[in-house]
């Protein structure tokens, strides 16, 4: 059983601290544009939705990477299973961006693809979430399935920020 990043929509207030700490951790600046986690605002429904890589069991990005830069890494001790992009191996061909059906791989800096790596098992966003809307925890297989089907059923919508 591995931990996953889960978000409680009832608790998220849309403060976007997670975006700031994420960009700081990985890109050395407080800049939501450079965050790997993104909080979307559904004005009509009154919800904020944090979105981040799901570290899929069958990761599309990993399968398609022509540079072998994406690997699934396990840390049994910490209970972490992370789909990670090696910045060194990535050539920036963006095939993973084409492959990710959830839009969770980004092109932040020139030259390589970027996405959540679970901060080595201690995600910054979770630590900074004052409302504890973001959690990094073990979940049951059925919960995992729910997340997956939610993501898949998702009502996709374009909206202005």
């Amino acid at each position: 059983m591995y931990k996953i990043l889960s978000a409680d929509l009832e608790k998220c207030t849309g403060c976007r601290t997670c975006e700031l700490v994420c960009s700081m951790k990985h890109h050395d600046e407080y800049n939501p544009q450079k965050s790997r986690i993104r909080v979307y605002n559904f004005v009509e429904q009154g919800y904020f939705v944090p979105v981040v890589c799901l570290h899929c069991n069958e990761a599309y990005c990993e399968k398609v990477c022509p540079a072998g830069a994406i690997t699934v890494n396990y840390d049994e001790k910490k209970g972490v299973r992370a789909v990670q992009i090696s910045k060194e191996k990535c050539v920036g061909c963006k095939m993973c961006i084409f492959a990710c059906p959830f839009g969770n791989v980004r092109f932040i800096e020139d030259g390589y693809s970027d996405k959540c790596d679970l901060c080595g098992g201690d995600p910054e966003c979770v630590k900074s979430c004052a409302k504890e809307a973001l959690k990094f925890k073990e979940v049951s297989a059925s919960y995992m399935q729910k997340i997956k089907s939610t993501a898949e059923k998702i009502l996709a919508a374009y909206q202005q920020t």
Partner: protein, 419 residues
């Protein structure tokens, strides 16, 4: 399925490797033999233009090493070309007259650059398509002589090559038979933006609407005559006019061929135990439902996976191949999926164009289904291509958010998840 089934894969690239991984991930312990014409471990052709640009070293192009084949229990026969299949005896014949027996066979021999017909034999060393590392080395050689380089075909690979080498001394003249560049990938409005962007680079000239009459060797270089009467000399010629599946060696095998190997919905050929996947096969286009060769890495991986599952006895159906691509040239990121032009009168298009910023977004819609999209911009302007690909590939009903697609304002649009 009996344990001793001998699986043979011909081709050591996207499709072949994806098949190997699938076979072992499914826990199958059958003996697997992989044959490849190239001596080396697998490398990705997709990375060749990054190698040309000097962004990566030769070694970084390799996606497997000896350990990979050991770990996956693959017997390798590399540096030997397959020259035929005797379907009645179930053997693959290699160029050194060796015969490899199979119980189930996957043909994943890919494709090669298409070459113009009217080339004089002696011109060979100055002409290159781009597919292999040797091709890349040849191109680097004649692009660093300071002489003019002629590029035939204004498709994505040609433009990627030029983008990789521009600024390294060579001057390029791009010739295409059509008046529009990237005609296979996008509509003329989007192509015009790209063309304008490239013309800003002083070292690239276009000769559009021109066809090649002959190509000859001349004084340590190349002479090209166009049908219009124009004549050019150059240090070398790069050819990017599409690819042809590597099927010549199957001509006498009684496997059904058209442009590529014909396969059914399970990627099986007309022989029960022979499958084909990747650039070499003609599979069903997911949108038009017509068979065709849709050569890209993404399809090759997926086809390798599906073919392997069927070889193992899982009755897995292949949904179909999707044309699409994502690439960066001259500072623009271009992502396409599915159709780029209206297929009929009932289809409609949504289009957002901002030539000044190099932004272009176009969606082709028919009856609440997305048939295709073209996205162009920089960095995060194309980040939603994966979601859009998914909508096209799975033919999702987009009626609920069609308006959002339409009203999407430049630079602020993002896809939102909600349940």
């Amino acid at each position: 399925m009996s344990k001793s089934k001998r699986l043979v894969i011909i081709g050591n690239s996207a499709a072949g490797l994806s098949a190997v991984k699938t076979i072992r991930e499914k826990g199958c312990s059958c003996p697997v033999t992989m044959v490849s014409a190239e001596e080396c471990n697998a490398y990705s052709p997709v990375l060749l233009t990054y190698y040309l640009a000097g962004k990566i070293q030769r070694e970084s192009m390799f996606i497997t090493n000896e350990k990979f084949y050991q770990d996956y229990g693959v017997k390798t026969i590399f540096g030997k070309r397959a020259v035929g299949i005797d379907v009645s005896r179930q053997v693959v014949q290699l160029e050194d007259s060796r015969e490899i027996e199979y119980d189930s066979l996957l043909i994943a021999t890919g494709s090669s650059p298409r070459m113009p017909g009217n080339i004089d034999d002696k011109a060979g060393e100055y002409i290159a398509g781009l597919r292999s590392i040797e091709d890349a080395d040849r191109i680097i050689k004649f692009c660093t002589t300071g002489k003019e380089v002629i590029v035939i075909g204004a498709g994505l690979i040609s433009l990627q090559i030029i983008s990789a080498l521009a600024g390294k001394g060579a001057k390029f003249t791009v010739i295409d038979i059509l008046a529009q560049i990237l005609s296979q990938n996008m509509d003329s409005d989007c192509a015009a933006i790209v063309e304008r962007r490239i013309r800003e680079e002083k070292q690239v000239k276009f000769l559009l609407g021109e066809s090649i009459n002959k190509i000859q060797r001349k004084n340590g270089g190349i002479f090209v005559a166009l049908d219009s009467g124009k004549e050019l000399t150059a240090g070398g010629v790069i050819v990017g006019i599409g690819v042809v599946p590597n099927i010549n060696w199957l001509k006498d095998s009684s496997i059904l061929l058209n442009k590529g190997i014909l396969v059914d919905d399970h990627l099986r050929t007309n022989f029960e135990e022979i499958y084909a996947a990747g650039d070499v096969c003609e599979s069903k286009n997911i949108i038009t439902k017509n068979p065709g060769v849709i050569p890209n890495w993404y399809n090759a991986c997926e086809q390798g996976r599906i073919a392997a599952l069927n070889m193992l006895g899982y009755k897995e159906k292949y949904a179909g191949a999707l044309n699409g691509n994502i690439t960066g040239i001259f500072g623009l990121i271009i992502a396409t999926v599915g159709l780029s032009k209206l297929p009929d009168e009932v289809s409609e298009e949504l289009k957002i164009v901002d030539p000044a910023r190099g932004i272009f977004r176009k969606f082709i819609i028919r009856e609440d289904k997305l048939l295709g999209a073209t996205l162009m911009g920089t960095k995060n302007d194309i980040e939603d291509i994966g979601i859009i690909r998914n909508l096209v590939e799975n033919s999702r009903d987009i009626s609920q958010f069609k308006d959002y697609l339409a009203n999407f304002k430049l630079n602020t649009g993002r896809l939102y998840f909600f349940n």
